[in-house]
């Protein structure tokens, strides 16, 4: 269960490949591949084990110039999805 206090961290084994404004990530251990759009890619970059989900929401809101309320749900969904795929640990 991901909460605002959870601190998500990208798995060390995961590799990323930059495409125009997208990011393809691949974990050679689990063989999982995912394609992230620009906002999901920004969230992924922030999941470095140093910030909570709440802190990520704040940074994303500031970066894209949108309200915290607007961003919070999207960030949670993205973090949960990446966690379910086994590409993040918390």
């Amino acid at each position: 269960m991901i909460t605002g206090q959870s601190i998500p961290s990208r798995l060390r084994s995961v590799l990323d490949y930059k495409l125009l404004d997208e990011l393809v990530i691949y974990d050679p251990v689990s063989a999982k591949v995912a394609a992230l759009n620009s906002s999901a890619g920004a969230i992924w970059e922030l999941c470095d084990g140093s910030r909570s989900v709440d802190a990520i929401c704040k940074e994303v809101a500031e970066h894209f110039g949108v309200s915290l309320e607007e961003v919070s749900m999207h960030v949670r969904v993205a973090v949960e999805r990446l966690y379910e795929l086994g590409l993040l640990c918390v």
């Binding site: 590799l15 495409l19 125009l20 990011l23 393809v24 691949y26 063989a31 591949v33 394609a35 759009n37």
Partner: protein, 294 residues
């Protein structure tokens, strides 16, 4: 003297039959290399040859990637590579299919620098388009429709892509398609319908690398009222290509980097369609209008 010879022969019949039965070879080529396929039976070779007919060469060319044997034995069939263990198969169809898969795998393994995608491939006006899909989505049927439009034939099963040049190499296994009576069939039932060969004129077979212009991911659905083309982002293109890749899992890391290179360079789209003829017509129309626009 004559009697002595006959006695010797009867003591050891092996001396009489010392000459091994003749072995007939055929050669299937891809790019600069070939595999040899040998058999004591010409008729068996005919069955193998008709699966790779456009790839056959009169003489071996380039490097020999392997020599495979198919023979009849005790009412069954054997398939093996020189100096390796035999696969024993009960029926001819299984033996030919087994050998076909061995040949394809050998070609794939020989070129890990290429992206090997489960796709049909044709060329139109000097540019290639590939039709990516798992089994049962209509690759071969669509390829057949494109041939009717005068496209060159590159493959109906596997598209090898050179990520450096961005070209599709011809891998012209013989095209086969299933004739169905229409209506949706589950994959298990679809696979039981035998395929029939499609005729391709030798002049219609592509002979060299052709720049890849467009990638289509096939989504076949008989309930669709019209054909529609929905463009794909490069990220989705990489995912779809990776899902339909024959490259080994061990080379997945460099493969994804190569797929990104291709996806950045070539446009891709989902092709939602019900009928192959209408879909091919729509694509040809799109390609013509694009080539006519300044």
């Amino acid at each position: 003297m004559r009697i002595a010879r006959q006695r010797l022969a009867s003591k050891d019949p092996g001396l009489i039959g010392a000459a091994a039965p003749p072995i007939y070879p055929i050669y299937a080529a891809f790019a600069n290399d070939h595999v040899s396929i040998c058999s004591e039976s010409r008729s068996l070779l005919w069955y193998v040859a008709r699966n790779v007919e456009p790839m056959l060469t009169l003489e071996p060319t380039g490097t020999n990637l392997g020599t495979f044997y198919i023979n009849q034995l005790n009412g069954g069939f054997t398939v093996h590579e020189r100096d390796s263990s035999e696969h024993r198969l009960r029926d001819l169809q299984s033996a030919v299919r087994s050998l076909h898969h061995l040949l394809i795998k050998r070609f794939i393994d020989s070129r890990p620098d290429l992206l090997w995608i489960h796709a049909g491939a044709v060329a139109f006006a000097g540019e290639a388009l590939i039709l990516v899909a798992p089994t049962g989505q209509g690759k071969s049927t669509l390829v057949g429709e494109f041939l009717e439009w005068g496209c060159s034939y590159l493959s109906d099963e596997i598209a090898p892509i050179d990520p450096v040049s961005g070209a599709v190499l011809p891998f012209p296994v013989s095209p086969w398609k299933r004739i169905t009576m229409g209506g949706h069939l589950p994959l298990e039932r679809l696979q039981k319908i035998p395929k029939v060969p499609m005729r391709v004129a030798p002049t219609a077979v592509g002979t060299g690398p052709i720049p890849l212009r467009q990638i289509y991911f096939l989504c076949h659905n008989l309930r669709l009222p019209t054909t529609s083309i929905e463009s794909c982002t490069p990220g989705t293109t990489v995912l779809e290509m990776a899902r339909n890749s024959f490259n080994s899992d061990e080379t997945r890391v460099p493969e994804l980097a190569r797929l990104c290179t291709v996806a950045n360079r070539v446009s891709a789209a989902y092709l939602h369609y019900a009928f192959a003829a209408a879909a091919a017509c729509e694509i040809i129309r799109t390609l013509i209008s694009r080539s006519e626009s300044p």
